[in-house]
């Protein structure tokens, strides 16, 4: 029934011919490499453009002593632990479509029943959806064959085109998903440019280079990542009893998660560990190997959501501001319901940097890329388009949540009730086809360009605020154009 559901409005990114022009793609890749290079620069504020220089500076190209691990003693055990997974890191850890789980679990190992979705509701949706997946998979097989690509565990996919974008919007086959995400997000070039970096970071992690603060909270969060997924938290054997005192052994996936988060925290000193990265990395690990998960986590946090997970969370606040502006613009009647301060006043997001309290409920939407907010299949479908099309997908989906919940939101009278309503609406959105169909029907005109422009405005706003707070005179921080634009804004007021 959804076969024809996704009309590309053609309003936005297709103004030319294709969603990603050679130019835009090039820009994206170069932004990507820049972001990556940035990470390795030893002092966080120095950007080194030449990746070779980076390796020299951080000593990353020195041969690892662990090439001959037998020479090590004390550190060896820890080290071995880190490298135990080395072999498997060259292959996908799981193949979701074939993994046999019992009837209480979905195809990825998550419990079907959640606080918001009953098993009956799940099954009612899953039956037809499973048929849909089979149909889509057949079409994908044809698409890949037409492009001369292998269809047995493919790692290469057709170049971006209007057709492929439509295919992605209708869902990537679950067992191909990880590789497709990696491919379209620019992973292969990333990994090719920085060979051995992940292994080296693991070595550093095993030498205790993860900060104590990060390490402590990572340890606390490992067991709190997807406790409802069997690959993170296996069912207890029936004889172990309800209150068994024996600590459960860690699953391989949980150990992978620790390594990815450790490596990431060393590689990204400006971020370190931020809660929500555990969910992002955990979901990636269900679909691709450790090293690829590591690079994808970098791509998410530096290219798609820059600054979102950094210590001051500025990127998150920037995006929340952009979302508020977009809601105000596209759904004024929803906006009047959600814009209120706790004391009843209202903020204009285009004039003030302050965010309305509703954003407290939506912070996790961006930071976790909807994990924990939308049902898992919906999250995966969002991620399909997210990695293919860019961060605009997250904004469009956020708008879609408000759109689909419009009637419920408008019916709210108690100003505090709105928080619970907005928080609950997405958790019931099991029918991912409806969500994505609505998204691309209603919000396809919100372009990446608009988002980047609004992000830049918000960033400037925060920079101005900081300057004022520090009592600094207004200085030209970037290029002349920024200064000029700031003057224009003053005229606007």
């Amino acid at each position: 029934m959804y076969e024809n559901g996704f009309q590309d409005s053609g309003v936005e990114d297709n103004a030319g011919t294709r969603p990603a022009t050679a130019n835009s793609e090039q820009r994206r890749v170069s932004r990507l490499s820049e972001a990556m290079n940035d990470a390795l620069a030893p002092p966080a504020n120095v950007i080194i453009r030449d990746s070779a220089a980076i390796f020299r500076n951080s000593g990353l190209n020195t041969p690892s002593p662990y090439d001959t691990p037998s020479s090590m003693d004390g550190a060896l055990e820890v080290h071995d632990q880190y490298f135990a997974q080395k072999d498997s890191s060259s292959r996908p850890v799981t193949r979701p479509s074939t993994a046999p789980f019992d009837a209480t679990r979905d195809r990825y190992g998550f419990r079907k029943k959640t606080q918001y979705v009953s098993v009956a509701q799940y099954e009612a949706w899953n039956g037809p959806y499973t048929e849909y997946l089979t149909r889509r998979r057949k079409k994908w097989v044809i698409l890949l064959k037409e492009s001369g690509l292998i269809t047995d565990r493919p790692t290469r996919f057709p170049p971006k085109s209007v057709k492929v974008k439509r295919f992605v919007r209708k869902g990537i086959p679950p067992d191909w998903r990880g590789e497709a995400w990696f491919y379209y997000a620019g992973g292969p070039s990333m990994i090719a440019k920085q060979p051995g970096v992940y292994t080296e970071l693991l070595r550093q992690a095993s030498m205790g280079e993860v900060t104590e603060t990060d390490n402590e909270i990572i340890e606390r969060d490992l067991n709190r990542t997807f406790p409802d997924n069997i690959k993170f938290k296996p069912d207890r054997p029936p004889d172990s009893g309800r209150d068994s005192q024996i600590p459960e052994p860690e699953t391989p996936l949980l150990q992978s998660l620790r390594r990815v988060l450790h490596a990431f925290s060393i590689y990204n000193p400006k971020i370190g560990y931020c809660q929500s990265l555990n969910f992002l990395a955990g979901l990636l690990l269900l679909f691709m190997n450790e090293e690829k998960s590591f690079w994808m986590l970098n791509i998410i946090t530096r290219v798609y959501l820059p600054g979102t997970h950094e210590v001051n969370l500025e990127g998150a606040n920037v995006d929340l501001g952009v979302l508020m502006t977009s809601i105000k613009e596209s759904m004024p009647s929803v906006w009047t319901k959600i814009a209120g301060e706790l004391d009843g006043s209202t903020i204009d997001p285009s004039k003030s940097m302050r965010l309305p309290p509703i954003t407290l409920c939506t912070t996790a939407w961006f930071m976790s890329c909807f994990i924990g907010t939308l049902p898992i299949e919906t999250v995966l479908r969002v991620w399909d388009s997210f990695f293919y099309e860019g961060s605009k997908t997250l904004f469009r989906i956020a708008l879609t949540i408000f759109k689909l919940g419009e009637q419920e939101i408008k019916a709210v009278n108690d100003p505090m009730e709105i928080f619970q309503v907005v928080q609950t609406i997405p958790r019931r959105m099991l029918d991912c086809n409806v969500v994505l169909e609505t998204c691309f029907k209603k919000f396809a005109n919100l372009s990446q360009g608009t988002i980047e422009q609004r992000r830049e405005e918000r960033r400037r706003g925060y920079a101005d605020e900081r300057a004022r707070a520090n009592g600094e005179p207004v200085v030209v921080r970037r290029k002349g154009t920024v200064f000029t634009r700031r003057k224009e804004r003053k005229v606007d007021r």
Partner: protein, 242 residues
Amino acid sequence: MAEATAPKPSSSVKLVLLGEAAVGKSSLVLRFVNNDFQENKEPTIGAAFLTQKCNLPTRTIKFEIWDTAGQERFASLAPMYYRNAQSALVVYDLTKPTSLIKAKHWVAELQRQASPGIVIALVGNKLDLTNETANSSNSLSDGGDGEAAEGEDADGDARRVSTAEAKSYAEEEGLLFFETSAKLGTNVTEVFTAIANAIPETSLKGTRGPGAAQANAGRTEDPSRVNLTGPRDNASKEGCAC
């Protein structure tokens, strides 16, 4: 049965939960709101909003609860929650002394920045990890190689913050004080009931239910903070309708 023929005055109380990551903030709320417990509860990102009613003999309190993320970098969001809060629940993990230090920082920030009359409860959670409860268990929910595991007593008591220490701090600062177990349900409703009782009626704004006028014209209470001295205080036994 508690429902009298005339509806009781009803008012809402905004409450914010603060405290270090993984001390059990969300678990306390889950126990209070749904009477449920989830092993390995996922970390809260940003914040969660929940409500629950609490029936007192003379009135009904509807708690509007902001459950916040514990990681330090989320702390900058906190003023948004506590700006208008009439009460705060500052939680530490009684198996982790550094979490009490963090709790003290939160108390100091609230005393400095929040509304002057805010009722603050200091709560030491994870009482189930001590051997003081009937149902005691020595399994450490966090596993791993934390200090708590290292320093665990031979008798399996993981407590690292004494009741006396936390209690005397709470008394000095005029805070309500409880030790709780979200896992076992110990003292959880008591905390919220004590807070409900400690909110001066005169500060109850936004009364939306019928009988609002009576609520404000009703008995006068000492507007200063009520200092309930401990978890077994009888005053806290008036039940919440959970």
